[in-house]
């Protein structure tokens, strides 16, 4: 039974259909990337577009494949540590952790408490640095270049601290099996002394955390509170919780969909259970929530760091390990909550100085699986916004 109003609607649809049949146009294939300002490197999206509407998207990856898993087979454990922090170069230190912990577990050594705490502090610092990078690149993709400078300005403080401790800004190479050690060795004085945190680190950390919190407030005003940003992000790229789980999303992208899953609470690769922090989740799973989760996580990380700095245990930095590191036969998988999501290493050791096989599970690669589903039917500007909100790094995707 159709009411007159329905019939009217029907007629309208019909006329619209007639128009669109008349104007039926060919779909255009648009190559977004591999060289494109917003693909964070060399991701390529083959998009079939009808006007501005994207019908389907096929991500093409592998332009930056560097063969880490193969490289790792011909390198010693110390060399691999230097390699793996280049996988996701925005959060280099966090990449080292699961690898080192896996190797340590195979060898049956455990890093001393102080070393573990320093690891934890630096991991959280890299989380802050990573999320600040997100907060500068995501608004830039929406067309606002200014938050970039504000976020990078404060990130500089964090990086300076990291450099002071490890000697490297991006690639710290600070973890050794059984402990931590800056690579700035050399000279017998340095060998004995230059191990621990440099003076002023704790003070500097407190100051940096204040600055980071401050810039979080600023960015909240500038980005999240901005009505244009809200127009561009709220309700765009919605990823419901069940889909997120289905597509094996992890990290902030998963938590933005309302799934309270955080490996820092689940696993015990670092002593997170000593500190009090919240797992931030947001209910809607759209671009806005993905951005907001990261902003809140910066605050949580600052909270963890402040607690850790206050209760830094004393003691040695290095457990007793043989001079030539040989990992006994066996295999081990350790996963960790990286800034971008779950990162895991499956090490198969044949008992030598080099691993037999290393399988790397990287967060960005798995997070990108959802792209074809998420981008279908979006507008081109939203494609870029959604892409940006997923926070991936091509090094982490292609490895």
């Amino acid at each position: 039974m159709t009411t007159p109003a329905d019939r009217h609607l029907l007629a309208m649809h019909r006329s619209e259909a007639a128009v669109s049949v008349e104007l039926q146009t060919e779909d255009m294939v648009l190559n977004i990337g591999p060289q494109h300002p917003s693909t964070h490197g060399v991701l390529r999206l083959v998009a079939t577009v009808a006007g501005e509407r994207v019908r389907s998207v096929q991500p093409v990856m592998g332009y930056m494949h560097r063969g880490y898993e193969k490289l790792a087979e011909v390198r010693t454990y110390a060399q691999i540590t230097a390699l793996v922090n280049r996988i996701d170069w925005v959060s280099g230190f966090a990449n080292e952790i699961p690898f080192i912990v896996a190797a340590e577990r195979l060898m049956g050594v455990e890093a001393p408490e102080r070393a573990q705490c320093i690891r934890l502090i630096l991991t959280e610092m890299f989380r802050i640095s990573n999320h600040l990078i997100f907060l500068c690149s995501f608004p830039a993709e929406l067309g606002a270049p200014t938050p970039l400078m504000y976020a990078l300005r404060e990130r500089e403080r964090v990086l300076d601290l990291i450099e002071g401790v490890t000697g490297g800004r991006f690639h710290p190479n600070f973890n050794r099996i059984g402990g931590v050690k800056p690579a700035a060795g050399g000279g017998s004085t340095q060998r004995t002394r230059a191990q621990d945190l440099p003076k002023g680190f704790i003070e500097g950390t407190r100051r940096a955390m204040t600055a980071v919190r401050h810039v979080c407030d600023d960015l909240e005003n500038l980005v999240l509170g901005n009505e244009i940003v809200q127009q561009r992000t709220i309700g765009i790229g919605v990823l419901p919780a069940d889909k997120a789980v289905e597509y094996a999303m992890s990290g902030p992208n998963l938590r933005a969909s309302g799934v309270p899953f955080d490996l820092r609470k689940v696993e015990d690769y670092l002593p997170y259970d000593r500190f009090d922090f919240d797992v931030v989740t947001m209910p809607n799973g759209d671009n806005y929530d993905r951005c907001r989760v990261r902003l809140e996580e910066i605050r949580q990380s600052a909270r963890i760091i402040e607690q850790a700095v206050d209760s830094l245990p004393g003691g040695p930095l290095q457990a007793k390990v043989p001079r030539v590191i040989k990992v006994p036969k066996g295999e081990c998988y350790v996963r960790a909550e990286n800034p971008k999501g779950e990162m895991g290493y499956h090490i198969v050791s044949g008992g030598g100085r080099r691993p037999y096989r290393v399988k790397i599970r990287s967060a960005s690669f798995c997070n990108l699986q959802v792209l074809p589903w998420l981008l279908e039917g979006a507008l081109i500007p939203d494609v870029i916004a959604i892409l940006g909100s997923l926070d991936f790094v091509l090094g982490d995707v292609d490895r």
């Binding site: 110390a78 060399q79 230097a82 000697g167 690579a183 700035a184 002394r193 003076k199 500038l222 901005n226």
Partner: protein
């Protein structure tokens, strides 16, 4: 395990719609009036921390051409050549000793990934990190630095930094 915190999903809505736009403008305007944080690079310089891995310095006297660094380097960018010389015995009647002399010690900084493994494995304390960073070159080939150049950098190697908690200090555990 603390209870996961779910935000109410409330958006940061301003009381007056559109007010958020002006909050942002106020922020940029305030920044506009503040002194910029830029470091005017060639005129002023940032001083990297002591541990910064800027460039590798070589102490030729200490090096014994043991090749450990070249072997452990993950990308094999250290090139070492040496030869042995007979040394006259220290005292008459003693055995003549051989000593290794370094002919060539090149590091290709275009390949080096600044991991620090060479510095760490050197058993004779011949390699050091220096925070010096101004050695860019116009072609990749110019980044191959020989032992003369590496030795020059030895002068820039700083003292290791003081450590946190090494001296008694109030408030630090």
């Amino acid at each position: 395990m603390s209870i996961p915190r779910s935000s109410s999903g409330k958006r940061l809505r301003s009381v007056v719609p559109g007010w958020g736009l002006f909050k942002g403008m106020w922020l940029t305007f305030r920044t506009f009036l503040r002194k910029p944080v830029t470091v005017m690079y060639p005129v002023e310089k940032e001083i990297p921390p002591e541990r910064a891995r800027g460039v590798i310095a070589l102490d030729v006297e200490a090096c014994t051409v043991c090749m450990l660094c070249a072997r452990e380097c993950p990308d094999w960018c250290i090139y070492i050549e040496g030869h042995k010389v007979q040394q006259p015995p220290a005292e008459p009647g003693g055995r003549a000793r051989t000593r290794s002399v370094l002919d060539r010690f090149d590091i290709d900084f275009a390949l080096c990934m600044f991991c620090g493994i060479c510095v760490e494995v050197c058993p004779f304390d011949a390699l050091f990190w220096s925070p010096e960073y101004e050695y860019s070159a116009e072609s990749l080939a110019d980044l191959l630095h020989g032992k003369e150049r590496l030795t020059q950098w030895l002068a820039t190697v700083p003292e290791p930094p003081a450590l946190e908690g090494s001296e008694p200090e109030g408030g630090e555990p």
